[in-house]
Symmetry: C2
Subunit: 134 residues, 2 copies
Amino acid sequence: MSNSSRCAACKSLRRKCPQDCVLAPYFPSNNPQRFSWVHKIFGASKITKMLQQLPVELRGEAADCMAMEAYLRVENPVYGSVGIIYQYQQQIIEVQNEIIKINGEIAVYNALLQHQQLQQHQDSFFSTDNDFNL
Amino acid sequence: MSNSSRCAACKSLRRKCPQDCVLAPYFPSNNPQRFSWVHKIFGASKITKMLQQLPVELRGEAADCMAMEAYLRVENPVYGSVGIIYQYQQQIIEVQNEIIKINGEIAVYNALLQHQQLQQHQDSFFSTDNDFNL
């Protein structure tokens, strides 16, 4: 990659972007913000090291997740991505409680239906009795 | 803090642990693993900087979240904490679909109950007719 088309990382770090730049495929020059998040939270050397330790076919996904993780910590410096995890855990508990509640309603419906069916059978039984009496 | 009771961070970095060590309250010497996670993923200087930028009362929570975030990335070097977020998103979708399904079941129960109630009214109507006919 020529110096005139440095990746966002090399541009930010004011260095030449080598042909085999580890960061270039995942931090294109048209999205400097994305690199600035991971640079701020993890640092360029950690990111490079973490990507290098992965097989090439997994690096894109890893870079996306690191960028999201870094963005979430920039946005929420106390909780970061764990804040979203807590939020989702809470949401799952609430939705599961809703399911328990709805299943309770279904049990009531079932009991009502059985009661009505029993009553109908009784009614038809007495109605048959009447027919016999006629 | 004396050198003999250095915090996990200062012990790992082989330095003296000053009285006003920023990391000491959150990385006690009895849990070296916790510091090793954040050290590996964020680096000591980033952690120190991120904690220093927060009010003291929020640093404990932030250190816990950073430790969890770092642990999750050590455990899952591709997805990290974002992997848990994806997993929870999927779980929320599944549970919401279950609610939609159960609500559908409730609608069926409602229809069944109404149908039975209607039938009971009709039965009692005809039964009254019979009585009149008697």
